[in-house]
């Protein structure tokens, strides 16, 4: 069974540009989560999508947005990039069908802002 896949592995942008990160969940999983791991800050929850809808949002500005497609894959978009957006962005998926299902993570996209 394929795990959570993320692309690209690395992304280099300059300040003010936009970045798009992609995630494919484990087959059968309907929930997709995005997390940011910035240097020295640990893993911070960004967004949760389930059945195509945004269900929860972390403490991040509106320039962080995303969507979930009918096949449950997801995109994270970051507009007006700032230097502090440099981080590892992790996507996770879970089955939303029942209580207590763990989230499974991809290997992340490392976003570097020059």
């Amino acid at each position: 069974e394929a795990g959570v896949t993320q692309s690209p592995t690395h992304l280099i942008k300059t300040r003010g540009q936009q970045a798009t990160l992609r995630c494919s969940p484990i087959s059968g999983h309907t929930s997709v989560y995005w997390y940011q791991q910035a240097l020295g800050l640990g893993l911070q929850f960004l967004l949760w999508y389930d059945e195509g809808e945004e269900r929860n949002r972390g403490n991040f500005p509106p320039r962080f947005s995303g969507r979930q497609f009918p096949n449950y894959s997801s995109e994270l978009n970051v507009n007006a990039l700032e230097l502090e957006d440099s981080a590892l962005y992790l996507c996770a998926s879970s089955s939303g069908q029942s209580y207590g299902q763990p989230q499974h993570f991809g290997d992340g996209t490392r976003l570097s802002i020059l």
Partner: protein, 115 residues
């Protein structure tokens, strides 16, 4: 505020001995707890979880203990193996549909298992 804390940034243990990792939390709404292992350049890998209705869950070499009154959980790895050398994260979530909610992570504990 840090709602989930792992106060030991690192742990060194001899191969074959027990590794004990600790995690404290402050939010009494947390009802589902997980441990993840992370190797460099890889995403976190799910290890084991426990819901607040239990005080112990075991899976092979891994056992998680939950003390709700102390808001404390621990992960025991017995016996420790060199392949267990990684960073371990404790995570927690709140809500009846805990899987569909955000995870709050601790800062991680780096474990080194010496041959």
């Amino acid at each position: 505020d840090q709602q989930v804390k792992q106060n030991s940034p690192s742990l060194s243990v001899q191969e074959g001995r027990i590794s004990i990792l600790n995690c404290d939390y402050t939010n009494s709404m947390f009802d589902y707890f997980l441990w993840y292992k992370k190797y460099p350049a890889e995403g976190p890998t799910f290890l084991i979880s426990i819901s607040s209705i239990k005080d112990k869950n075991e899976d092979g070499r891994f056992t998680v203990f939950l003390n709700k009154s102390a808001k404390h959980l621990s992960l025991h790895i017995v016996p420790s193996q060199p392949g267990d050398s990684a960073v371990y994260f404790c995570a927690a979530s709140a809500g009846a549909k805990a899987a569909g909610n955000k995870l709050t992570f601790g800062g991680g504990t780096r474990v080194l298992v010496k041959p």
